[in-house]
C-alpha cells in the first residue's frame, strides 16, 4: 500500500511544554486513520504540523510525497474541532469562497456546491446566512467546505460531535465514499465506538507521545481476544494469583479478567468453578473504549514510558 503520510520523530514544544514528543507514524493511502487521544494529548498540534500551519522543532514529515502540506494545500481538506465560518456570508458564498481558495474556479464550484447541499439536505438553506443556521447545519456546511474540492487527504477533527444519528450517518457515508474513491482520511475523535467502526488503523497519543498504534485488528489482538467476564458469589482469592491473572478490574456486577500469558480462559473458569459460585462467564475481545482507558491510565500513571 502506498503511503499518504509518514511522520518520523517529530517534536514540538511551546516554551517548557512538550506538546508532541518524538512521534512517528505512517498512514496508508485510501484508509481511514484514527488519531485518538485524550484532551490535550497533542492531536491538534500534530494535525497543525501535518497541515503545515506549525513547523515541527525536529523530525520530518512527508505528506503525499511532499515535505510540507503547504506545497499542496489544494489537495488537503481540514475540518477543525472548533468550528467556525464567516457568520454573515450566505451558505453558497461560503462554499464557493472556500472552493476558490482551494483553487477551483467560481464556475466549477457552483454546481458542486449545489450537489453537496442537495446530498446533505441543506438545499433550502443555500441563500441563507450562516448565522441563521442551527449548529448542526453549520457543521454540515463546514464539512462540505472541507471536501468540496475532492482533497486526496482529509483531516476531520471530531466530525460527529453535536450531530444527531441521522446526520452522523450522512457524514459517515460520505467519508466511506471518499475513501472508496481513493482519498485518505485522518479522523481525530474521542468517540471510540465511531473509531472502532470506521478506522482501518489508528494511533493513540497521550502526553504528546504515541502509546499505541497499528491496524485496528492488530491493536485489538495485541490486547488479546481472551477477556473473561466473570460474575460470581463467594470469595475469589484466585484473582490475586499472578500466575493466572495478569490484570483484573472489578466493575461491581462482574469482574473483567485479563489472563496471564500462556493461560487459557478455560483454566480460569476451572479455578473459578472450584472456588466460587459462578453465575456467568464469557470470553470477549476488548473494546477500543476499554483499550483507550487502559492505555491512557497506564501511560498516565507510569509517566508515558511506552515506545
Amino acid at each position: 500500500m502506498a503511503t499518504a503520510v509518514a511522520i518520523s520523530g517529530i517534536c514540538k514544544s511551546f516554551d517548557a511544554v512538550h506538546a508532541v514528543e518524538n512521534l512517528s507514524l505512517q498512514i496508508h493511502k485510501g484508509e481511514i486513520f484514527g488519531l485518538l487521544g485524550p484532551n490535550g494529548a497533542g492531536k491538534t498540534t500534530t494535525i497543525r504540523m501535518l497541515l503545515g500551519i506549525l513547523m515541527p522543532d525536529s523530525g520530518s514529515i512527508e505528506i503525499l510525497g511532499r515535505a510540507n502540506a503547504r506545497e499542496i494545500p489544494n489537495q488537503v481538506g481540514f475540518l477543525p474541532e472548533e468550528r467556525g465560518l464567516f457568520k454573515r456570508m450566505t451558505v453558497l458564498d461560503i462554499l464557493t469562497f472556500f472552493a476558490e481558495l482551494k483553487g477551483l474556479s467560481h464556475k466549477a464550484a457552483l454546481p458542486l456546491a449545489d450537489q453537496w447541499l442537495e446530498r446533505l439536505e441543506l438545499k433550502e438553506w443555500r441563500d441563507k446566512k450562516i448565522e441563521e443556521l442551527s449548529k448542526g447545519m453549520q457543521q454540515k456546511v463546514q464539512f462540505i467546505t472541507t471536501i468540496l474540492h475532492r482533497p486526496q487527504l482529509v483531516f476531520l477533527d471530531e466530525p460527529f460531535s453535536g450531530l444527531d444519528p441521522v446526520n452522523t450517518n450522512l457524514i459517515k457515508d460520505v467519508m466511506l465514499e471518499l475513501v472508496k474513491e481513493g482519498s485518505t482520511i485522518v479522523l481525530s475523535t474521542h468517540m471510540m465506538e465511531q473509531a472502532e467502526k470506521l478506522c482501518d488503523a489508528l494511533c493513540l497519543i497521550n502526553r504528546g507521545q504515541s502509546v499505541l498504534q497499528g491496524p485496528l485488528a492488530e491493536v485489538k489482538s495485541r490486547f488479546g481476544k481472551n477477556r473473561c467476564r466473570l460474575s460470581y458469589d463467594g470469595e475469589a482469592r484466585f484473582l490475586q494469583d499472578p500466575k493466572l491473572v495478569s490484570r483484573c478490574d472489578d466493575y461491581g456486577q462482574y469482574v473483567e479478567i485479563q489472563p496471564a500469558d500462556e493461560i487459557r480462559p478455560q483454566a480460569i473458569l476451572a479455578r473459578a468453578l472450584n472456588e466460587v459460585t459462578v453465575r456467568s462467564f464469557d470470553i470477549t475481545e476488548p473494546s477500543l473504549n476499554e483499550i483507550f482507558i487502559t492505555v491512557v491510565k497506564g501511560s498516565g500513571t507510569t509517566g508515558g514510558d511506552h515506545e
Binding site: 497543525r48 500551519i53 502540506a69 464567516f86
Partner: protein, 428 residues
C-alpha cells in the same frame, strides 16, 4: 486563481455588499447636509427674530442716538427694524419699583428684555441687560457694538474733539490674503484655505483610525470564530494578512470615492445656486482644490492606511476579543492622534525645521506632510522623501508584523505581553 486575490475579494464584497456599508456610506453626506441645513435655517431664522425691549436711560442722553443706530443697523428682509424699544423715563428714586415691574413683564414674556443704561455709564463703561435668554451671543454683540459706538461718540463730543476726524484716524485695517504659487499670485481667503486643509486632514485622520480598527476587528473576529484556522490550512498567513488589509482598504477607498463624487456634485451645484440667488457671493475668493492636492490626498491615504492597517492587523492577531483589543491598541491609536495634535503647530509654522522633521516621520507623514502640501509649504524633495520613507516603513513593518501575525493568529487565551511578542518575532 491566486489565493490572495480570492481573500481580497471576500473581504471586499463581504463588506461592500452589506446594508451597513450602504447606510454608512450614505449616512455621512446626509448627516453633513442635515447639519449644514439646520445651521443655515437656524441662522436665517435666528437673526429675523424680532425683539420688544424696554430701555431705561438714566443718563437721559443716550437713548435717541442708540435707538437710531439700532434701527438703521439691524433690519429684517423688508427693511423694518428688528428691535423695538420702549424708552421708559425713570427718576432715580422710583428705579427699583420700575425695575421690578419691568422684570415681571420680562418674566411674563410681555417684553423680551430690559436694558438699563446707568448714569455713570461714561465712566464705568457698563450697562445691564435683564432678559430670560441672556445667551443670544449675536444679540448681545449687537447691543454692545451699538452702545460702544454711541457712548464713545458722546464722550468725544463732550471733550470737544472732532468726531469725524477721530473716526478717520482710528479706522481699522483689514487683512487681504494672497496665495503665491507656481500658477502665480491669486487672492484667496486665508480662513477658507485653512478650512479646506483642516477638513481634508481631518478626513484622513478619521479614515486611518476607522479603517485601521476595521482591520483589527476583522482579524480578531476571524480568530475568535475559529474560521482563521480553516483559512490558514489553505492559504499562508501573509496572504491572509494581505487579503484583510487590501480588501478592507478597497472598501474604504470605494467609500471615499463615493463621498468625493457627492462633494464634487454638491459643490458645483451649490456654486450654480449661489451665482443665481446671491450674485455677490460669486466674487468671494474661494480657493479651488487643485487636482494635485486630490492626488496627494489619495496617495497619503493609501500609504498611511498601509502603515496603520499593518499595525492594527498585528494587534488583531494578538487578541481574541474587543476588551483585549481596546487595552492593547492605544500605542497605535496614540500615534495617529499625536500626528493630529501636531497639526496646529505645523499649520502655523509649516516651514520650520520642526515641522519639516515631524512631517518626514512616516507615522505622521500621512497627516502632516499632506497638510504642508495642501498649504503649499512642502518642496518636492521633501514630498518624495516622505513617500520613500513611508514605503520603506511599510516594507519593514510587513516583515516584523508578518511574523507576529503568523504566530498570533494561532494563539488563544490570554493576551501576550511584550517579551512574548518579541520572542514570536525572533522564532517565527
Amino acid at each position: 486563481m491566486n489565493k490572495t486575490w480570492v481573500l481580497i475579494k471576500r473581504e471586499f464584497f463581504s463588506r461592500v455588499k452589506t446594508k451597513g456599508f450602504l447606510i454608512g456610506t450614505l449616512a455621512l453626506p446626509v448627516f453633513v447636509f442635515v447639519i449644514m441645513g439646520v445651521q443655515i435655517a437656524m441662522q436665517s431664522l435666528g437673526t429675523k427674530e424680532k425683539k420688544n425691549l424696554a430701555l431705561i436711560d438714566l443718563t437721559g442722553r443716550i437713548a435717541p442716538s442708540f435707538i437710531a443706530y439700532m434701527d438703521s443697523s439691524y433690519q429684517d428682509a423688508r427693511k423694518t427694524p428688528l428691535y423695538t424699544f420702549t424708552n421708559v423715563q425713570a427718576a432715580p428714586e422710583s428705579l427699583s419699583t420700575l425695575k421690578s415691574r419691568l422684570s415681571r413683564q420680562v418674566q411674563d414674556e410681555e417684553i423680551n428684555g430690559l436694558i438699563i443704561l446707568p448714569a455713570e455709564i461714561f465712566e464705568s463703561g457698563q450697562f445691564e441687560l435683564h432678559a430670560k435668554n441672556i445667551s443670544n451671543m449675536e444679540f448681545n454683540a449687537n447691543l454692545e457694538r451699538a452702545l460702544s459706538r454711541v457712548v464713545s461718540d458722546l464722550r468725544l463730543a463732550q471733550s470737544g474733539i472732532d468726531q469725524v476726524l477721530v473716526r478717520k484716524l482710528t479706522r481699522g485695517v483689514d487683512l487681504k490674503t494672497f496665495k503665491v504659487s507656481e500658477a502665480g499670485t491669486k487672492e484667496e481667503s486665508g480662513m477658507i484655505a485653512f478650512g479646506i486643509s483642516y477638513v481634508m486632514m481631518f478626513i484622513l485622520y478619521m479614515a486611518l483610525l476607522f479603517y485601521g480598527q476595521f482591520v483589527m476587528r476583522g482579524v480578531y473576529e476571524d480568530k475568535s470564530t475559529r474560521v482563521m484556522e480553516v483559512v490558514l490550512s489553505s492559504a499562508r498567513a501573509d496572504q491572509i494578512m494581505a487579503g484583510k488589509i487590501v480588501g478592507i482598504g478597497g472598501a474604504g477607498l470605494l467609500q471615499f470615492l463615493i463621498w468625493a463624487l457627492v462633494i464634487a456634485l454638491v459643490s458645483s451645484y451649490g456654486m450654480v445656486m449661489m451665482t443665481l440667488f446671491a450674485p455677490g457671493a460669486g466674487q468671494l475668493p474661494i480657493p479651488a482644490i487643485s487636482l494635485s492636492v486630490y492626488f496627494f490626498f489619495f496617495l497619503y491615504f493609501i500609504l498611511g492606511y498601509f502603515i496603520y492597517a499593518t499595525l492594527y492587523a498585528t494587534l488583531g492577531s494578538m487578541v481574541n476579543d474587543e476588551a483585549d483589543a481596546q487595552s492593547l491598541q492605544w500605542p497605535v491609536t496614540f500615534l495617529i492622534i499625536l500626528g493630529f495634535l501636531f497639526m496646529f503647530f505645523v499649520l502655523n509654522n509649516p516651514n520650520s525645521t520642526m515641522a519639516v522633521l515631524l512631517s518626514l516621520i512616516p507615522f505622521f507623514s500621512p497627516l502632516l506632510m499632506f497638510l504642508r502640501i495642501s498649504v503649499g509649504a512642502a518642496p518636492w524633495w521633501q514630498v518624495l522623501m516622505s513617500v520613500v520613507l513611508m514605503i520603506l516603513t511599510i516594507i519593514g513593518l510587513i516583515w516584523v508584523t508578518g511574523r507576529i501575525f503568523r504566530v498570533g493568529i494561532l494563539m488563544y487565551g490570554k493576551k501576550p505581553n511584550l517579551p512574548e511578542v518579541l520572542k514570536w518575532i525572533r522564532y517565527s
